[in-house]
Amino acid sequence: MELKKRFWNEYQKEIADDHYFYARSCIRQSFNPGAEAMFLNIMKDNLHKDIIDEANQHTCTGIGYHTDIVPFYTTATIMARLFSLMTEAGYKNYVPSCVTSFGLYVEVLETWKHDPETLEKTREYLYKACKREFELPENIAHSSDIIYKFRNELKKQMKYQLINKHTGQPLRGVEHVGCHYAKVFPAFGEGGAEFPYVLAGLIESWGGEVIDYPERRHCCGFGFRNYLVLTNRSYSVSNTYKKLESMEPYQPDFILTNCPGCNMFLDRWQYTIAETQHKTYDAEGKGIPVLSHEELAALLLGYDPWKIGLQMHQVQCESLMDKIGIAYNPDEKYADINGNQLTPPDKPDFLKI
């Protein structure tokens, strides 16, 4: 029997080359505000692409929809309004920042495709509500798809690689792809649902080594109701705990995600687990840094880590930056936009209490 050679599927989906309408995430702007700014910077300054960050956009209702609060037609109509903004701005390629949104856009588009009556009803509801009309996007791709598409162009501009400067060995990354990226509609994901390549491709292209581990496909623990319903939160933590326990023997240097929720929970719950279980998952007790696709790209391109907003993470990223050899000024970590020092947290970089 031949040994396994590749984990990841490389089959491709169609991703537009240019002229994108960017749809922001609701929660990412609160938790990791630099990530979306970095995506726009990379698109404009590094890749020289035309991308619009429309000021009048709003929620897709994904979190409400998945907690059974918002019904389908409400979601479809609100999404239709976002598409009407895209149409009005003269764009046809839709790029959501959030994986939950991406999965839901695809769900709504596929519903419209297979049941055209729902599309007509949505058009009617939107027009009645706000006298707006819309065209369907010609292409829909998640922002991680875009970074994946241009990963090799970005690599040429990168100042750093995912190589441990002390050992010369590739850094070991765990990739965590958000459930709604391809588990609902595998054909809409790079590499499908079981072995998606969208993040693994970034790690491999940028010099790192991808870790496969038993709970790789398991949910991060967000799960909407798991977290939003207070009494369910232990279930949310237990899912993250399960993943961290499973990846522990492989000693990952970092976790890469493409979903705002996953980024949040894999990061924040490390603190909760340290408090409740007295355990961290790295040798120094600092936790495993969790980065999004834009954050990692920006970091390797040489953007200032504090402009990327890495100080906003629960698990601090200095250990990873030191391994890569990224230059940063610790004195600027807690400076505000005008350079004034803010009060730093008491113990920002140690999870163990």
Binding site: M1, E2, L3, K4, R6, F7, N9, G192, A193, E194, F195, D212, Y213, P214, E215, R216, R217, P249, Y250
Partner: protein
């Protein structure tokens, strides 16, 4: 001489059994087989269910019964088939052209390609194997993991590529349930300390003595049968396989780490079967060949002089394939006599 009374495409059990009968009827018969030797999938099995009869012995018995009227061409892939106006058949291979008064298709099946079920990690994780690969290990008398360890725990999963809407195969492959029972008994005899788990949707023990063997596997060989589908398999740090499933009788999720994970792969129409089904427009919804009428003319087709036998029509067990070969020979006898 390139002209025969009957050409049989496929030298598996059905084709061989038909050739035995046709030879005994004194018809000049040619078997065209694409593999190096005749026997079809029978050559890949060690012992047969439910009585552990030797597959090799059966093959020898069949081969012995082929008389001088039967010619065999091996390593000959069919390139084209023509039905001439005089109801003569011409079969072209890379090496030659052969004609006959009647044509019997016994082109059999292929095993389902388990890589299509990505969630089980076949072709990715080395200790995920198919029932065919396990049979080869049983035949060699040595069952190990890829890194040479003796497995302590083995899990079997039924219906891989069968009864599965996602891969487009709604049908049951008939052989897999009882095959897992047979293999788990053989494995336990080779590895007395092994623990074995068999995951199933429902067990179809419809053949004679199947139910008894199923009972024996539980009572004497302690195989645990768990009703439930496995959702995913992943490799652990030490190259074992972690599987996640739902026990649908207890309504509980289940996680199990095993040394070998065996996928009981189903049957699909073979490449040659698909080629013929398209050529003569006699395909059923799954690419198998459609007979004229299932009850009374199951070996005939709507095309005069074209006959079918065995698993080119649908999944069958080996005894049924042999009987079907007999039946096809009888149908051809009637056709040639009245021609």
């Amino acid at each position: 001489m390139n002209h025969f009374d009957v050409i049989i495409i496929g030298g598996g059990p059905a084709g061989m059994q038909a050739a035995i009968r046709l030879g005994n009827f004194n018809y000049k018969t040619l078997i065209i087989e694409k593999e190096k030797s005749i026997g079809g999938k029978l050559t890949q099995w060690d012992k047969l269910f439910p009585d552990f009869y030797s597959a090799e012995e059966l093959l020898q018995n069949l081969t012995r019964q082929l008389n001088e009227n039967v010619s065999i061409l091996t390593e000959q892939e069919v390139k084209d088939i023509e039905n001439t106006s005089e109801n003569e058949w011409t079969v072209k291979t890379a090496d030659g052209q052969y004609s006959s008064k009647a044509l019997l298709i016994a082109s059999g099946y292929d095993f389902f390609n388990a890589k299509r079920k990505e969630e089980f990690g076949y072709g990715i994780y080395p200790n995920v194997i198919t029932s065919v690969e396990l049979e080869a290990m049983i035949k060699n008398g040595k069952i190990t993991t890829l890194d040479g360890r003796i497995p302590q725990k083995i899990a079997y999963l039924q219906c891989v590529g069968s009864r599965d809407e996602k891969v487009g195969n709604h049908y049951c492959s008939i052989n897999c349930c009882i095959c897992a029972v047979k293999q788990s008994i053989e494995v336990k005899e080779l590895l007395p300390d092994v623990e074995q788990y068999c995951f199933y949707m429902d067990l179809r023990m419809a053949g004679q003595h199947y139910e008894e063997l199923y009972r024996t596997s539980q009572e004497k060989y302690h195989v645990q049968f768990i009703r439930g589908r496995i959702s995913e398999a992943a490799s652990t740090f030490d190259n074992r396989i972690q599987i996640k499933a739902e026990n649908t009788l207890l309504s509980t999720p289940l996680k199990l780490t095993v040394d070998l994970f065996v996928l009981m792969v189903g049957m699909e129409a073979s490449e040659t079967t698909r080629f013929i089904s398209q050529k003569f427009n006699i395909s059923n919804e799954y690419g198998f060949l459609q007979s004229k009428q299932r009850y009374c003319s199951d070996n005939e087709t709507e095309i005069k002089g074209l006959f079918l036998a065995g698993t080119c029509k649908r999944p069958m067990t080996i005894p049924k394939s042999l009987k079907d070969g007999d039946a096809a020979a009888n149908a051809i006898f009637d056709y040639l006599k009245n021609r």
